[in-house]
C-alpha cells in the first residue's frame, strides 16, 4: 500500500544508490532482488566505463587502510533497523518546552534513527569514545548476523542488560575490534553534520594513528583541521615506561571546506601580558601600541610626511597610513607618542576592539581532568566517574565553532557523565544563547564495586548530573531564560508487530493479529515518535494534544503533522483535522473498517485540504 509508513530507519544503501543515480543516471537500472521484487540496481560495468582509467580493481596495489571485517562495519552502518525511540515523560524535565534531548541506547542504532530527521543539521559533534586502553569496554556489534537478523535483533543485551565486553590487549583482535566499533559510528555521524559543521574527537596515543586514518577516509584528508594536543594533567607521574603522559589529543575534522572556526577571544592572561592598563590618555580599557612606520624598500608602499609630536619633535618617515587617516586617528586619541611625548608615533589598539585570535593546536591552559572530576564531585559528593572531561574544555570547543546568533545543535554520542550537556547549559546561561544538545549514552551498568553509588546505569548518572547542573545555575543567572530541561528518549524495538513488515507471510486466519499490528505495551505517544522519526520531524518539536469528538488528536510542530491513533475515528474527527490543513495526517489502519469509510475520509480531505498527505499504520 502506497500510503503505509515504513516504520523503519533509513536504508543507507538506498540513499547511496540515489546519489549514484543523481550523478550517473545511466548507471542505475532495474533488477530483481533475491525474493524477485523489483529494485533499483547499479550497473557497475557502465559505471566503470564512465570512470574509464580511474578504476582500481582486485589485487592491484593502492593506498588504503584496511582491517578484518571493515566491509561488515560498512554494512552495519548502512543496514536499516526496525527500532524506535520511546519518549519517557517521567524522567524528562520540562518535556513540553525543552529543545534538548537525552537518548538512551546503543549509539550505532540511535545514529541510524536520527538519519532522516537530523541529516545535515548538526553544527558540532564532540565525542569522547573509549580510548582502547586495554581496560575499555566495547560495544559488541555482531557482524555475523545476516542483515535481516540484524534488523530484527532485539534483546542484544546480556543477562545484566549489557552489550559490552572488555577489550584487552591479549585479544587477538585488539585494534580490529576497536576499529569495527568506531568506524560505522563516525561514518553515520558524519552524515548528520552540516556542511559548515565540525567533529571533535578526544583520543590518546593508543588509537590516535588509526582514528586519524579512518577520519581521513570518512571526511576526506582535505577536511582535516588539526590534531590538538590538550594538557590533561599538570603533574608528572611515572605511570608510563619512558614518558610521563600529560597530554592527549583532540582530532578536528570539518564536514567540508565551508567549515571555518571562530576566533578565540583574547585570554585574560594574554591581555595582562601583552597590554597596558588604561590610562588618562587611553581610558577605554587595556591597550597596546602598534608601530605605524614602514621600512623603506621592503614592500614599496607607505606615505611620507612630517609628524610633529606634542613635545615639538619632528619625525619624517615612511608611514603606513595616508596623512588624512593619521590625522583622524590622532583626533580620536588613538596615537601614542611614547612616555615622554616625543617618541615615534604608534597606533593604540584596545583589547576590547580585538577580533580575537586563531586557536592553536596546543591547549595547555584550558583546564585538566582533575577539574573535570572536581566538577562532578561538587555535584555528587562522590566520585561517580573516574575520568571526566572539564566543562571548560567543551565550552572552548563550543566557543570556536558555534554561531551565537543561531540556535545550533550540539551532539555527543559517547556522552558518559554528560559533561557536554553541562557545558552547553553553562555556555547558554553565560552567553544568553539557545544552543541545543543531543546526548546519547548506552545504559551501561555502573560498576557495583564503586563505593556508595546509588545509580544503576551511567544514564542515570548523566540525567541526574544535567538536573543538578541546571539547578546549580539557578540564582546565578536568574534573569536569563535559558533552556532548563531535556526530553528523555529510550531506544526500543519497533512499536509494530512483525506482521506489519511482512503481511504476506501471515495467513488470513490470523485476522485478529492483523487488525492489531501494534505491540500491546505501546502508547499512542510511542507511535507518534516513531512516525516523527520517519517524517523528518525534530524530536524536540512542540506536541499539542486535543480531544476532537472524543478522540485524542496530536498536533506536532504547529500543524506539520496531525495524528490520531484511536479506534473508530469518525467523519467528524476527520473533518476537524482536515480543516486545519496539516501537511501530514496519520491514523491507524483499523479505523478504516471498510472501503466505504476510506473513501469517505478521502472525500473529506479532498474537500478541505487536498494537499494533506495521508498515511496509515
Amino acid at each position: 500500500m502506497d500510503n503505509k509508513l515504513k516504520m523503519q530507519s533509513v536504508n543507507n544503501v538506498d540513499e547511496n544508490v540515489k546519489k549514484i543515480r543523481e550523478l550517473f543516471p545511466n548507471c542505475v537500472t532495474e533488477g530483481k532482488d533475491e525474493e524477485g521484487k523489483s529494485i533499483q540496481i547499479v550497473d557497475f560495468d557502465m559505471l566503470k566505463q564512465e570512470l574509464s582509467n580511474y578504476v582500481v580493481e582486485g589485487r592491484e596495489e593502492r593506498y588504503q587502510f584496511n582491517w578484518p571485517d571493515k566491509r561488515n562495519a560498512i554494512l552495519a552502518a548502512n543496514a536499516p533497523i526496525n527500532k524506535t525511540l520511546r519518549p519517557i515523560r517521567g524522567e524528562s524535565v520540562q518535556f513540553e518546552n525543552t529543545k534538548n534531548l537525552y537518548i538512551e541506547g546503543d549509539n550505532l542504532e540511535v545514529l541510524k534513527l536520527l538519519q532522516e530527521t537530523y541529516l545535515g543539521k548538526i553544527k558540532m559533534i564532540y565525542i569522547d569514545p573509549p580510548y582502547n586502553t586495554g581496560n575499555d569496554f566495547l560495544y559488541e556489534d555482531d557482524f555475523k548476523m545476516t542483515t535481516e537478523d540484524f534488523i530484527n535483533a532485539n534483546g542484544q543485551l546480556d543477562e545484566d542488560g549489557n552489550r559490552l565486553y572488555q577489550n584487552t590487549q591479549r585479544n587477538g583482535r585488539y585494534h580490529t575490534d576497536w576499529l569495527n566499533m568506531i568506524y560505522p559510528r563516525i561514518k553515520l555521524a558524519a552524515d548528520l553534520l552540516r556542511d559548515d559543521g565540525f567533529i571533535f574527537i578526544s583520543i590518546d596515543d593508543n588509537e590516535v594513528a588509526n582514528l586519524r586514518k579512518i577520519c581521513d577516509e570518512i571526511f576526506g584528508e582535505t577536511n582535516f583541521v588539526s590534531q590538538i594536543m590538550w594538557k590533561r594533567k599538570k603533574e608528572r607521574s611515572n605511570d608510563s615506561k619512558n614518558i610521563s603522559i600529560q597530554g592527549e589529543y583532540i582530532l578536528i575534522y570539518g564536514k567540508s571546506p565551508l567549515a571555518i572556526l571562530n576566533f578565540e577571544s583574547l585570554s585574560s592572561e594574554y591581555i595582562k601580558k601583552s597590554y597596558k592598563p588604561a590610562t588618562k590618555d587611553f581610558p577605554n580599557g587595556e591597550w597596546r601600541p602598534v608601530p605605524i612606520t614602514v621600512s623603506k624598500g621592503l614592500s614599496g608602499g607607505g606615505y611620507e610626511y612630517k609628524i610633529v609630536t606634542p613635545g615639538g619633535k619632528v619625525h619624517n618617515r615612511l608611514w603606513a597610513y595616508p596623512q588624512k587617516s593619521y590625522e583622524k586617528l590622532l583626533k580620536e586619541g588613538r596615537i601614542y607618542f611614547g612616555k615622554d611625548g616625543n617618541g615615534v608615533p604608534q597606533r593604540v589598539m584596545y583589547a576590547a576592539d580585538s577580533k580575537g585570535q586563531s586557536t592553536t593546536n596546543y591547549w595547555d591552559d584550558v583546564a585538566t581532568n582533575k577539574e573535570g572530576k572536581k566538577e562532578v564531585l561538587e555535584l555528587f559528593d562522590d566520585a561517580v566517574f573516574d575520568t571526566v572531561k572539564p566543562t571548560k574544555l567543551i565550552e572552548k570547543i563550543i566557543d570556536i565553532t558555534i554561531d551565537n546568533n543561531e540556535s545550533e545543535f550540539i551532539l555527543d554520542f559517547f556522552s558518559g557523565s554528560a559533561t557536554t550537556a553541562d557545558a552547553v547549559i553553562r555556555y547558554n546561561a553565560r552567553n544568553k544563547t539557545n544552543h541545543r544538545f543531543i546526548l546519547v549514552q548506552l545504559p551501561e551498568k555502573v560498576d557495583g564495586k564503586k563505593k556508595g553509588s546509588s545509580f544503576d546505569t551511567i544514564c542515570d548518572i548523566g540525567k541526574e548530573r544535567i538536573k543538578r547542573a541546571i539547578t546549580r545555575l539557578d540564582g546565578k543567572y536568574d534573569s536569563l531564560n535559558f533552556d532548563r530541561g531535556f526530553r528523555v528518549l529510550k531506544i526500543d524495538g519497533t512499536n509494530m508487530k512483525e506482521v506489519y513488515y511482512n503481511p504476506n507471510q501471515y495467513e488470513q486466519t490470523l485476522f485478529n493479529d492483523v487488525l492489531d499490528n501494534i505491540k500491546s505495551d505501546r502508547t499512542s505517544e510511542d507511535l507518534l515518535f516513531q512516525v516523527m522519526l520517519e517524517l523528518g520531524v525534530l524530536l524536540s518539536s512542540k506536541i499539542e494534544e486535543e480531544i476532537v469528538e472524543g478522540k485524542k488528536v496530536f498536533n506536532v510542530a504547529a500543524g506539520y503533522l496531525m495524528a490520531c491513533f484511536d479506534k473508530d475515528v469518525s467523519e467528524k474527527t476527520i473533518e476537524a483535522v482536515a480543516k486545519k490543513k496539516p501537511y501530514y495526517f496519520v491514523m491507524r489502519d483499523f479505523s478504516l473498517a471498510n472501503d466505504n469509510v476510506a473513501t469517505n475520509f478521502n472525500q473529506i480531505f479532498q474537500m478541505y485540504s487536498p494537499d494533506t498527505i495521508r498515511k496509515v499504520l
Partner: protein, 201 residues
Amino acid sequence: MSGLPKSTMMKKQIPKSAIYKKYGMDSKAREKFDNDISRIYIVNEVSTRTMIIERGLEIDSFFVVQIMLKNKKYDESNIIKITKLINQNMIFELRYEDKKSFAVYRGKLITSDWRDDESEPMKIQGLTLDEVWKQLIIQIGDIHVEPQNTLDEQIQVNDMKEKILANIKSLDRKARSERQPRKKFEMVEKINELKKELGEL
C-alpha cells in the same frame, strides 16, 4: 476630487511633453510612461489660500492630481516617478473609463480600491492641513493605526506584514509540493517562525 470645497478646484493640464523635457527622460522611459498614462491634470489646490483651514507643521499645501490611465493594470513605478519629479504633496486620482482609484506616495505607493464615480466622497477631517493630509492617507490605504504607532510606523508595520504573509504563502506552496519529509519539515519550521514574527509585529 469630490468632498473638497469648490474654492479649491482648478483644472490645469500638465503636458507629458513638459515632464519628459524637464526631467530629461529618454525614449525608453517615455514609452513606458506613455503606455500607461494618457493625460495629467491638477484638479485641486488645498492650502490656506483656497480654503479656511490652519496650516500644519509639515504640510502647508497639497494638490489633487488627476491621471487618465490607458490601462487599469498600470505600472506603479510610473506614478512613483511623478512623485519623484514633482516636489509637492500630491493625492492622485487615477481614472480608467468610469472607475477611479486614489493613490498617495508615502515611502511606497498606497492605493485605494477601484470605485464608481458616484461612490461616497473622501472625508475631509481635521482642523489643520497636517491632520487633513493624514486622514486622507488613512482613508486611501484603509489603514488601521494602532494606538502605539504613528501613521508612518503603521505603514511600515503593514508593509512588513504583507511581505511576511507573501513569504509564508510561497513557502507553503513549496512545502506542500515537496516530497522529501525532511525538506518539507524544514520549510514548515521556517513558516512557523515567520508566523511567530508576524504575531510579534
